[in-house]
């Protein structure tokens, strides 16, 4: 098991004349918290979408957990243990908080005919609800939660299937400082329990505290990979951010 959990090699993707990703590569080692940073428009979200199968890559290969998943659909990747959240916390507003967790349980087709929320589902969800301190809102509709709570809920939901790699797209954007700390704690705890993270984030303090290594993307290509303190002094990175 020496191979990395996720290996993205020379991936390109264009939208019309815009080259969102150009020959970009990135590796996520097992049990790391890897950060993916870069200025706006550098291709971070496109990279997420390509990895998770929401967008096909024009070229390049993606391997996850030893399998080639370059053309895999999101549903298949989820069952393989790769799950993600979205920049704009996407939860199902007209389902309850509990149902939002249950629906992410990764059921087989046969299981679809079981109870909407069975006892086992409730137990599985309850553990996460306690962990994320959402038990008191379990029966509310997700549309009734605050934005920060929705982010937590979306995060909790992708853990329902015991993923190997969780990809978080800006977990702290638009969230109050207390919630940022909560989010950080959850990531640390889950990391300690063996889950690998790949995180897109603009909050540099958050990245510096939490992540190692850091991958910097600029104009669709990775320009630096290394320890967080090395990033701050790297001239190429400074150039990309400050646009000298």
């Amino acid at each position: 098991m020496t191979t990395a959990l996720l290996e993205v090699a020379n991936v390109s993707r264009r939208f019309g004349s815009v080259r969102a990703l150009q020959d970009a590569s990135l590796t996520v080692e097992r049990n790391s918290i890897t950060a993916l940073i870069g200025p706006n428009g550098s291709g971070k979200t496109t990279m997420f979408n390509v990895i998770t199968g929401y967008l096909p890559a024009d070229s390049g290969t993606i391997r996850f957990d030893g399998h080639d998943v370059t053309r895999a659909k999101p549903a298949i990747l989820y069952r393989r243990g790769l799950s993600r959240t979205f920049q704009q916390a996407r939860v199902f507003g007209h389902l309850t908080v509990q149902e939002n967790l249950v629906v992410a349980g990764g059921f087989s087709v046969a299981q679809l005919f079981g109870r909407r929320v069975g006892r086992q589902d409730r137990e599985r969800a309850a553990a996460l609800l306690v962990e994320f301190r959402l038990s008191h809102v379990a029966d509310l509709y997700a549309s009734e939660l605050s934005y920060g709570q929705r982010k937590l809920l979306e995060f909790a939901a992708v853990l329902m299937s015991q993923p190997k790699l969780v990809m978080l797209d800006e977990p702290t954007a638009g969230v109050n400082p207390v919630m940022i700390e909560t989010m950080e704690q959850h990531i640390r705890q889950l990391h300690a329990s063996g889950i690998t993270f790949l995180i897109v984030e603009h909050d540099m303090n958050f990245v510096m505290r939490l992540c190692d290594p850091v991958v910097v993307l600029d104009q669709g290509h990775e320009i630096f990979t290394g320890a967080p303190d090395a990033v701050q002094s790297n001239p190429a990175v400074l150039d990309a951010y400050l646009g000298a």
Binding site: Y54, A75, S83, F92, L95, V103, L112, R116, D139, V158
Partner: protein, 360 residues
């Protein structure tokens, strides 16, 4: 929670008991005829709701499957003798399953598109089916139409068998709806309807539940088409595959409330009875169409999300107020929290226009 469920079942029992007893009151033929058509539309609206309501795929092509059922039963009995008047009814399950199988590849292709594009793809399907019915003359008889043997039922109780069969179909349609709402099929469909891409990304069996909803929906619709053909005895392409049928069942479902158990049924009873009544009372002039449209407009102005969701919301409001007003004497420290939670529950605001309805 349990008592609420009990009320729901009692409501259904009373509803079906009353409908089952109605013909015993020696109703006039025109009234029974009206009820037969109302039941037809109630079944079809319930069937459409599985796809257009719960899955969020607004099909405008359901009349094509109505026609498939109508032609299937007609053509079958052109080549096989009818030995008893009930024989065509025994064929219904076969027709339903057959239509579902025919629907499967169609669904697999059409459901690659969504919302408005899906509506256009399916309405195209309707016109393709109608054109085929007109032009495959050696099979369908083309514009000349096709006839099925006249049912050997006594004139005095002619409508009864049709009425009873449709009532069973309505029970089946509503039973399937209820079962799906209580199972993970319903949960998955709700996720698909709200955000299909997100649903796929968290392992929801998107494709399976979509295809299931489509096939069950069109299978039920085809069975109604078969009953209709046997009832009217003579079918033409423009009536067997009629866009107005599609439009009627869509309007009924919107009126009653999408993604609810009772919405489509209530919608069908209001709109179909209104249409029939106005057609009789306003005579051969086309005024009845205006009156019919007015009923729809007035209800939609007062209850834009449909009747059932609007009523549910109002009840919820009242319950909430009661919870908040109640003195918090019963519990300890936990009580205010629960009251607050309850007051937040089922707040009317929601980004999905017909949300929350699927717990009716």
């Amino acid at each position: 929670m349990r008592s609420v469920r009990g009320i729901g079942q009692a409501r259904a029992a009373v509803f079906f008991a009353v409908l089952a007893m109605l013909p015993a009151f020696n109703l006039a033929h025109w009234v029974l005829n009206m009820l037969v058509f109302t039941l037809m539309y109630a079944v079809m609206a319930s069937a459409w709701n599985l796809l257009g309501g719960f899955a969020g795929y607004p099909s405008l092509g359901h009349a094509a499957f109505f026609g498939v059922g109508a032609y299937a039963v007609t053509l079958w009995f052109q080549h096989h003798g009818i030995h008893s008047g009930y024989e065509p009814f025994f064929l219904l399950p076969v027709i339903g399953i057959g239509a579902a199988i025919v629907g499967l590849p169609i669904a697999a292709i059409a459901m690659r598109t969504r919302s408005d594009v899906f509506a256009i793809v399916t309405i195209t399907l309707l016109f393709v089916a109608q054109t085929l019915a007109f032009n495959l003359r050696s099979i369908t008889g083309g514009a000349q139409g096709a006839s099925i043997a006249i049912p050997p039922f006594s004139a005095a109780t002619f409508e009864r068998p049709f009425y009873d069969v449709l009532l069973v179909l309505l029970a089946v349609a509503m039973g399937l709806t209820w079962a799906s709402m209580r199972s993970k099929v319903g949960l998955s469909l709700a996720a698909v309807r709200a955000d299909e891409d997100k649903a796929a990304g968290i392992g929801v069996r998107v494709q399976a539940v979509k295809l299931l909803a489509f096939c069950v929906s069109v299978g039920l619709t085809a069975m109604v088409g078969a009953v209709w053909a046997y009832y009217v005895g003579f079918i033409y392409p423009q009536f067997a595959i009629d866009p107005l049928i599609t439009i009627a069942i869509v309007l009924m479902t919107f009126l009653g409330g999408r993604a609810t158990l009772w919405g489509p049924v209530i919608g069908a009873f209001i709109l179909e009875l209104a249409q029939q009544y106005f057609a009789y009372s306003l005579g051969g002039s086309q005024y009845y169409l205006i009156a019919y449209a007015l009923v729809f407009l007035v209800v939609m102005l007062l209850m834009p999300r449909g009747i059932v969701p609007s009523i549910q919301e109002r009840l919820r409001h009242r319950r909430r107020r009661r919870v908040v007003d109640a003195p918090t004497s019963t519990g300890g420290a936990a009580q205010p929290v629960r009251a607050e939670a309850a007051s937040m529950t089922r707040r009317p605001f929601t980004p999905v226009p017909y949300a929350e309805g699927d717990r009716a």
